[in-house]
């Protein structure tokens, strides 16, 4: 079933933030060398939830089209939060985090576009969160490149 109301859109945004925060907290435990990064991601997710709630509760009024502002298919934003079982767990975990981030960016971008002129401030909040997450993508891609080059070097030596 597609999502149309502001309440549904906000609930989904909060779910994506909370679920991924929980995942990153666990990831931080599994990757001690980058524990700070993933703890920081989880912390920022919680701030995003506060920001989303504050924005929504601050602007929701009967003058905006709250019941008709989205046309989202929630099945398109299902996060795979199972921890992989792999030999090179580090690379796989970072790749997975990248997938999570890209999917959440897609959600925020699409939701912001759909509600652009119907929902005061909420699309702007979504765009800002997507922008923050693009920075995460750069960080994760850098980390992945670093890990892959280390792996390559190790394999070459063998």
């Amino acid at each position: 079933m597609r999502l149309h109301t502001a309440s549904e859109g906000i609930t989904l945004a909060k779910k994506l933030e909370n679920d991924s925060a929980k995942y990153y907290e666990e990831e931080a435990e599994r990757l001690p060398e980058v524990t700070e990064l993933f703890h920081a991601f989880a912390k920022e997710n919680k701030r995003n939830v506060t920001y989303i709630e504050r924005t929504y509760y601050g602007v929701i009024t009967d003058a905006i089209e709250a019941s008709y502002c989205f046309d989202l298919d929630p099945s398109g934003y299902l996060l795979d939060l199972q921890f992989p079982d792999s030999e090179d767990i580090r690379v796989t975990l970072i790749e997975k985090s990248l997938e999570i981030e890209k999917l959440i960016i897609t959600f925020y971008t699409e939701a912001a576009e759909q509600s652009e002129s119907l929902m005061a401030d909420i699309p702007r909040a979504f765009v800002l969160i997507a922008k923050k997450r693009r920075r995460r993508v750069c960080q994760l891609e850098g980390l992945l490149a670093e890990l892959q080059s280390c792996t390559y070097e190790l394999n070459s030596r063998c």
Partner: protein
Amino acid sequence: MAILEEPIKEVKTVKNYIGGEWVESKGDLVDVVNPATCKTIAKVPISTSEELNKAVEAAKDAFPEWRKTPPPARSRLLFRLKELLEENFEEVSRIQTQEHGKTIDESRGETRRGIENVEVACGIPTLMQGYYSEDVASGIDEWVIPTPLGVFGIIGPFNFPWMIPLWSAPYAVATGNCIVVKPSSEVPLSQDRLAELVEEAGFPPGVWNVVHGGRSVVSAMLDHPEIEGITFVGSTPTGRDVVYKRCGETGKRVIAQCGAKNFMTIMPDCNVDRTIASMMTSFFGNAGQRCLSAANCVIVGEDAAFYNMFVEKVVAMASKIRVGCGLDESVQMGPLRDRTKKERVMAYIEQGIKDGAKVLLDGRSPEIVGGYPEACFLGATILKDVDPNSPVGSEEIFGPVMSIMRVRDLDEAIEIANGNPFGNGHSIFTTSGKHARHFQYSIESGNVGINIGIVAPMAFFPFSGMKDSFFGTLHTQGREAIRFFTESKVVIQRWF
């Protein structure tokens, strides 16, 4: 998606809040029924006129000290109230949905609109300042002091149980007056919870009183010699023929905000998709039970292709509206407040059909999400070829019914709207600044929307209204409310 938890789980017997005490009424109790589930959620008293007298007495007793309380101190209490309203935002929103039926987004919107009025009233130290002229003649100075009057009565309607009393109450108490609020007996729980938060905020006993009841309480308020003024929101017959008239007879100030028949003018140059989303909210939001709901959709121009395409899209979107219990987040339209209101709307639809309107979408047997009893539910109904002079085209229906009319040009659209006795919230959808300006200039409407479907003014602007939609001089909200709740005392001074 999620169905939110109901905040009211047991049937509560509502009490009056008089002089800082929760007092059981001696009046008969009537059921408050959740229109979505048809379950009784509370019992509300039809208070007696003696109980109203006690509330007025308590307010009168509290007035001298409250008036002396400096505006910054009154403001601090309002700030505290605002904090409590924010802390309890979700709970009070769900109460509104439970007692009224509206969707959770609509209730949250109503909560926010109410809080905004408290925020504006927090500025009372500056809002209540007078003005001063030195040397109006040599050595003579003159100034004006806005002063509170005493006790005010606030009469709320059923359609916005939380917000509408807050169009008046924060300004009344901020200016140093004391109040007696009479919520609608159909939806008393929002104001009951608000009074609890007022008490928690620390307002002195007697400043803010709540007396529940029906017509007899309203009547006693209108006749009470110690009540200086009344704010009322409700139907035009009651507002004009009872409230406005009686307040005139008894020498009270009055704001009577009444019925409406709002016209939405659609220009062929409008942004079609955005316009249609706005139309859904405007015509069908709150199940059409809103004095700012659009009722008549006037499509301008002789371009048959545009007309057909536009109408087809409107019908397609309206036919997908999810109807059900407002606590289901996916629901886009809740029930009517009660069965009688639904029957009244159905009668209008039937009358419209008899008068020659064609049904494009029939909401009389809606599909209800979640299998709730159909007692109070209606779906969106769209009629076309509606005569603007017929009952369905000219009278307030207060339900989810869109009447489509077609006119040659913008002037004809304005003429039709201005020919209607109401003037509350007309709007135009266009991408032309010229059309928008011409409409705004010529339309006889207290609130005007340009690409806005629900023309609800923010708390720092007056909630206006013209013709049969408003009786009085000043309006609720913002600076006009400050003027309404104060008398101008002018001092002229000379020293020898």
